[in-house]
């Protein structure tokens, strides 16, 4: 049996970060990945005629600046979009709003007085997002809650927010559990703007704009934006891949060993102490420290197993909500489609189809009852394919469809085509010629993501990012500080604090925790 200091399970971005950071500290690290290559849900797949691109992750709202600095990723080639990302909020009456970089620093297509109110609202949003921004890089208060040290950061965060003044603090407490619909309806009129903000607040989580606490979704997103390179975002064209490759190179250079197609079947645990892992092909590796970056549900219920877990924890893990609700549609087009208003589509823009808040809410209602959204909302990126393949000059449209149920009434067999056609015909309203140029299209539903990417429920965040599963409650109180009741076992996936997209702080915080623990 080969022996290592640390074994990391899952080569997603969080797994890569932990592996690289721990290897940099001089530990011998093995990274086990069930798939054929690294990158997890951000990995590249051959989509069409040898053309490779990330099938799921089209763009990261933010990768944490801390991660880039800590691992020294800037020495590898990270592709950024220096101008930041602009978003077009498509509207039905062709009164699109164009949302400037940095979440609407400027907005085209908005009356001046409304923009003034928007500016104030936006400032409030960003100001309040500091709460999460500060918490994101902290190790949450967990099982060590009895010591003051564990709570010191939390007190400090609260104190800093309070020091901004009584009014601002009261406003935070008033707003934090509200629904985004109430907040935007207080101040704004333009339907497509309200739709866009509702969409951004609820994409990827099972809430509608009128659900209480849906404002948290927006705060969360903004806090990630602020913690990343605010002025620039990862480029649509290869940005995600450049980040994943940089992480891989960093891990490789730090001496991490990789095993692909090495799906772990169970952990070797004796008397609540983990000593190694067993792969499905029967190979075993031993290590004193095991870090799991896969979803908490799989980690605890499949790898650890209920026979090694307290009933209290089994209960909490079982109660996690982790069925995915976002579907990915990839289309390869001969060329960039033209809008019928003779205006050209810009490949540097993000397009969001959420013409009104009511539409987002009604599609969420469909999700609740496991029905197909009647007029699905989605976001869409276009990236030009330039790498010397036969597809030179073609364009990939990368589309995230919101509010698609994990299991749909009547089964997905018949509904899959219907969903795809609904989205394409919506795009056709804006770009009439789109259907002619389609070379390839593929739809990846949550349950298909689950199977292909080994993610329980196919949920992008491993478990819902909602008020009852944040910070100390993510994924569950007893395991929120990245350590677990099994000695030597740590978790670091998106299911831990702070989780979310390609942020990367779950991995970094977990690595810090492991380094702290072993100093003692």
């Amino acid at each position: 049996m080969k022996s290592y200091d640390v074994i990391v399970i899952g080569a997603g971005h969080n797994g890569l970060i932990v592996a690289s950071k721990l290897a940099a500290s001089g530990r011998r690290v093995l990274l086990l990945e069930a798939g054929e290559t690294y990158g997890g849900m951000a990995r590249s797949e051959v989509l069409f005629e040898g053309f490779q691109a990330p099938e799921l992750a089209s763009n990261a709202i933010g990768i944490s600046k801390d991660v880039v600095q800590d691992l020294g990723l800037s020495k590898y080639e990270l592709l950024f979009n220096e101008d930041g990302l602009k978003t077009v909020g498509l509207s039905i009456e062709n009164e699109n709003v164009i949302f400037g970089r940095n979440f609407g620093e400027t907005i085209e297509g908005l009356r001046e007085d409304e923009f003034k109110r928007w500016k104030e609202l936006r400032e409030k949003f960003f100001n309040q997002s500091q709460l999460f921004q500060r918490l994101a890089s902290q190790i949450p208060v967990g099982r060590n809650y009895k010591t003051f040290g564990s709570k010191a950061n939390l007190f400090l965060t609260a104190a800093k927010l309070r020091l901004q003044g009584k009014e601002q603090f009261q406003e935070l407490l008033r707003m934090i559990t509200m629904c985004i619909a109430d907040l935007v309806e207080e101040e704004l009129e333009t339907s497509s703007l309200k739709g866009l903000i509702s969409f951004d607040s609820t994409l990827g989580i099972k809430l509608g704009p009128r659900s209480p606490t849906s404002y948290l979704g927006l705060l969360y997103k903004l806090s990630q934006m602020k913690a990343s390179y605010q002025e620039k975002s990862l480029s649509i064209h290869g940005g995600v891949t450049s980040f994943i490759n940089a992480l891989f190179k960093s891990a490789e250079e730090n001496g991490v060993d990789f095993v692909f197609k090495g799906k772990v079947s169970s952990l070797i645990i004796t008397d609540s102490v983990v000593t190694g892992v067993k792969l499905e092909n029967g190979v075993e590796y031993s290590a004193k420290t095991i870090v799991s970056s896969i979803s908490p549900v799989s980690t605890f219920l499949d790898l650890v197993g209920p026979q090694n877990l307290e009933t209290d924890l089994t209960r909490r893990i079982q109660a996690l909500r982790y069925s995915g609700n976002t579907t990915k549609l990839n289309i390869i087009l001969e060329e960039l489609p033209k809008l019928h208003s003779s205006q050209n589509l810009d490949a540097n823009y993000r397009y969001v189809y959420a013409p009104s808040l009511e539409m987002v809410e009604s599609n969420f209602n469909s999700l609740k009852y496991n029905e197909l959204p009647s007029d699905p909302n989605f976001e869409m990126y276009f990236s030009k394919i330039s790498s010397g393949s036969s597809l030179n000059g073609a364009v990939m449209a990368s589309i995230c469809i919101q509010n698609t149920p994990y299991s749909v009434k009547g089964g997905w067999k018949n509904s899959k085509e219907v969903l795809m056609n609904k989205v394409i015909s919506t795009i056709q309203k804006y770009a009439p010629e789109i259907k002619k140029g389609i070379l390839f299209k593929s739809l990846l539903l949550p349950h298909e993501t689950e199977k292909k990417y080994f993610v329980a429920g196919g949920h992008w965040h491993h478990s819902e990012l909602q008020i009852d599963s944040l910070y100390s409650l993510r994924p569950a109180f007893d395991v929120s500080d990245y350590s677990t009741p099994i000695d030597g076992l740590f978790i670091c996936g998106a299911g831990t604090h702070p989780g979310g997209n390609l942020f990367g702080l779950s991995g970094l915080n977990a690595a810090k925790k492991i380094l702290q623990e072993s100093i003692k």
Partner: protein
């Protein structure tokens, strides 16, 4: 029109808020000065005729008590033993078929949820009896184990025969094998085609048996027992008499002598097995079980928790609920159960006390009693001494074969 079948299936609990045990008619017929109470949703007697006479039937003849309201869970399946090893603190692997063990189960902090008796009917077939309801806990604990958990509380009923003549009554009834039945053992048999399960267990510290059967034979069976007991002083009893006997035997009851951890609102009310004097049940050498880590860790800490003690108190005033002081001034705890013990002729009590580890704290303990005498309270300070439970130790409890009275 509502079909008669539907009518039968309908929930009628609103008409009769408390369930009637299958033995209800039998016990109600024995009532002269009856008091009834709600035990786990069943209408159960506290006193049927006379509390003291009922108590003395336990110690000098034989008593019959309805134990149907106890929660009874059947645990069946190839992994039943592994499941119970995770659930409970004792090593179930060491429990032989046809035996009964007293056991308890804890949450992840090592705090006791409840205690109960575990009947091993066969290799893969167990019955767990407890005071409180635990079905959700059992089902959640069974996640990942090949085991089925059935709440048979309403389908299985039982009586407890306790007292020196209990064995004789069962012999009279025609039960074979009573002579060889050792304490904490069980067997299944048939009495005129009525299948029953007999175990030599009880809650009195006396010779006694518990008999479980299906509801449909309940009445016929208990009438047969009554007839067999007519010359052996068989008396139907309520809870108060049983309670006196169990305090003498030093048995504790969840939510009376300690607060079950899933009932406790205040965190410092939770107790670990050691605090209940039941640390000897915990097998730390077996594999993982609920609460193991916390129990191990708690042994490293300097324990300053409340613990349960058995006390003897000078004088004969009732001491229930009284406060206990060290050196007559520092409060150290309260009495949870107490009686004047007819067997030892002493005032005895179970109490939770916070004494620390120092031996000297165990002496110089006093109890503050407010004794009401013709509308005036007299405050008394009486000397308390800690004793080793049980308060009584009867040879007939474990004699095998039991004598024929």
């Amino acid at each position: 029109m509502i079909q008669s079948k539907d009518r039968k299936d309908r929930d009628t609990t609103f008409r009769e808020p408390l369930f009637r045990s299958p033995f209800y008619d039998f016990f109600a017929a024995k009532e002269s000065e009856g008091h009834w109470y709600n035990w786990n949703g069943y209408k159960s007697p506290t006193i049927l005729s006379d509390e003291e006479l009922e108590y003395f039937s336990i110690r000098s003849t034989c008593s019959v008590f309805d134990i149907t309201p106890l929660n009874k869970y059947r645990i069946v399946g190839p992994q039943a033993e592994e499941f119970l090893n995770k659930l409970t603190v004792r090593n179930v692997t060491k429990q032989n078929v046809a035996t009964v063990k007293y056991t308890l189960w804890c949450d992840q902090e090592g705090f006791v949820i409840d205690d109960g008796t575990l009947f091993r009917i066969s290799d893969n077939d167990f019955r767990l009896c407890s005071q409180e309801k635990h079905l959700p806990w059992l089902i959640d604990t069974s996640y990942g184990f090949d085991v089925e958990i059935i709440d048979e509380t309403k389908h299985i009923c039982g009586i407890s025969l306790q007292g020196p003549t209990a064995a004789s009554i069962l012999r009279q009834l025609g039960v074979n094998g009573i002579d060889n039945l050792k304490p904490f053992h069980l067997f299944q048999t048939k009495i005129s085609n009525m299948p029953i399960m007999i175990s030599r267990t009880g809650f009195t510290g006396d010779l006694g048996y518990e008999i479980f059967m299906k509801n449909n034979v309940a009445n016929k069976f208990v009438e047969r027992v009554w007839k067999a007991g007519s010359n052996h002083g068989l008396t139907a009893i309520g809870y108060n008499a049983l309670n006196m006997a169990r305090i003498e035997a030093g048995f504790i009851v969840a939510n009376i002598d300690f607060i079950s951890s899933d009932h406790a609102i205040r965190q410092n009310r939770c107790r670990r097995p050691d605090d209940l004097g039941l640390g000897w049940l915990v097998d730390l050498n077996k594999g993982f079980f609920n609460g193991k880590k916390a129990i191990l860790n708690s042994k490293l800490e300097d324990s300053s928790a409340f613990k349960i003690y058995a006390l003897e108190i000078d004088g004969k005033e009732p001491v229930e609920g009284s406060i206990i002081y060290y050196n007559k001034k520092d409060e150290v705890g309260t009495v949870t159960s107490a009686i004047w013990s007819p067997m030892t002729k002493k005032s005895i009590a179970l109490a939770q006390l916070k004494l620390g580890s120092s031996k000297s704290n165990m002496e110089n303990l006093w109890i503050e009693i407010y004794s009401l005498k013709e509308l005036q309270y007299y405050k008394l300070m009486k000397k308390v001494s800690i004793v080793k439970p049980p308060f009584i130790n009867l040879a007939r409890r474990s004699a095998c074969p039991p004598a024929n009275y």
